[in-house]
Symmetry: C2
Subunit: 328 residues, 2 copies
């Protein structure tokens, strides 16, 4: 659910307009098809803080702020995000997300695949409402990057001996790509110049990288209540994230991740040990440092777009800090 | 596989350009991601006669025939078609399609969902290359209609007591919608006037309806070799198509479909009986008549677009007749 306190502090000059994005998405539910409408309700209520649409609107604030174009763009970004979660849940066969039952746990795989497709279709229509074919192509490319990122994650599950470069590629596709598109797309729709749009893209990309690394850290540190899923679930699903990769880097042969991936009896005990070793070493500090580096690269890019006293720049800066400070 | 004899006869003035659509689709495979490339190869080789892209090109022939715009449009239509088959196969958990193993039988559900998404994303990029935002919106709306059609089919599985109106709605979404978009989109990209584009849409929609009804008839009449799947598979999956609906209409209580849907022992025998009753009655003749009616409505619409001696009109006419004469 949108937390009003978070968005009013964070999203400054676009705070009221983020609500309009939700209104537009709500209005899209097909009234003559209650089954689909209900699934969409369920899926969209489970959404987070609408940080991606906020980034798109804030980028738009730096140029010609036309809500007729920017609200559809921002709604399209949020729908792509939600649709990708819906399809990910089919893939992971996840039963809960953020503490709520996933669509595929309540409905069947078939319906869930189609609902995701329906959301992608709606997102394509929304992005076309910007009237900007280049923005449509940005949308399409982003979708390609997201799906290849997800495929790479799926393919590399339980693959021991990945390096961090591969991890960074993966989370670029999975997460940073859409943040990048939100910031760049907002700038494009608002008529900013090419270099400004590219700088906004760099902001979005780097903040998105930081966002995913934080997600991956939280999977080790947060408790199930904060997270809405069991801690250590990435490792449990065979997904190597930064903290696990750093543990492997330090002790390639002797670490419990390797033994956990090898399976057999003692599997649960090896998972427990891996979590404990990561939590009790300085690995999480190092992971935070990596996230902070990305955030700072994002902030540096922002300096090429506007001055620090511009309310939109200020708010984009706040968003970047919030990303690395959030607890869930 | 494309049957050269079919396309050279049928597709007249665009016959060589249909091959360029395939070339463009082939060129889109990501060279740096062999896993995805290989799945795409597998999925796209399984394709049919490229009738949808041919319709788009033929519609384009009636106006300003610009291949720079029409080939991407036609490729986008074919990709949407293939992507929807890929996702349908996840849904139906089908093991074969046209006698070939489906993607989800060779790979896993996860990869298959993502490959479908990747294809949709590519299709969105291709349609944006037309530079025409209205065509992008047509594409998006079509995708919505297709997904709701598929959901309706999924939801109504084993639902006894549907009427033919519900069936027609379903196959409109599932099949006719994309034929309609191919014809209308081709006209739009070629700069035809609104009424012409609407008439082309009507052609595509009605020919698409005929196409699906023929598919549904063939499921009862063709043998497994011609069809590449076991005969009667629709009924086996709980999908009521026109022939089964006509059987039910004639004998709502006593027919074997009702007993088959009720399950229990004798299920296989009831399925066998339903197939036999349909094949040995005039139900198939009546179903052909319905398909022919749709075809003729499509041909009537065509009369509003051009004269019968125009090679593109001639070829669109041939396509309509081919649709109701095909054996697989």
């Amino acid at each position: 659910m949108t937390s009003p306190s978070v968005s009013s502090e964070l999203y400054g000059p676009v705070r009221d307009d983020v609500g309009k994005v939700d209104d537009l998405i709500t209005a899209l539910r097909p009234k003559d098809f209650p089954f689909l409408s209900n699934i969409l309700d369920h899926v969209l209520e489970a959404g987070g803080k609408r940080v991606r649409p906020a980034v798109a609107l804030l980028a738009g604030k730096l140029g010609a702020y036309d809500l007729e174009l920017l609200i559809p763009l921002a709604a399209s970004i949020e729908l792509v995000h939600s649709a990708s979660l819906v399809h990910d849940d089919v893939i992971d066969a996840a039963a809960t997300r953020r503490g709520r039952a996933t669509a595929n746990a309540l409905f069947n795989n078939a319906a869930t695949v189609m609902v995701g497709d329906y959301m992608f279709a709606n997102a394509a229509d929304l992005v076309a409402r910007t009237g900007n074919v280049e923005v449509v192509r940005l949308f399409a490319r982003t979708l390609m990057e997201m799906t290849t990122g997800e495929l790479q994650q799926d393919m590399s599950a339980y693959e021991y001996g990945q390096d961090t470069r591969k991890y960074f590629n993966r989370i670029y596709g999975k997460t940073a790509s859409l943040f990048a598109a939100a910031a760049q797309g907002g700038g494009m729709v608002a008529g900013l110049q090419d270099e400004q749009c590219q700088a906004l893209r760099s902001y979005g990309e780097n903040v998105g990288m930081a966002f995913q690394i934080m997600d991956d850290i939280l999977d080790f540190t947060a408790d199930a209540t904060e997270l809405g899923k069991p801690a250590g679930s990435d490792l449990m699903n065979g997904t190597l994230t930064l903290p696990a990769l750093l543990l492997i880097e330090r002790d390639p042969e002797g670490n419990p991740v390797k033994r956990f991936f090898a399976g057999g009896k003692g599997k649960a005990e090896n998972l427990r040990r891996a979590l404990k070793q990561i939590r009790e070493s300085d690995i999480l500090d190092e992971s935070f440092r990596v996230a902070h580096d990305f955030r700072d690269k994002g902030l540096a890019a922002l300096a090429n777009v506007g001055t620090a006293d511009d309310p939109a720049i200020e708010s984009l800066t706040d968003v970047a800090y919030w990303v690395t400070q959030r607890r869930n």
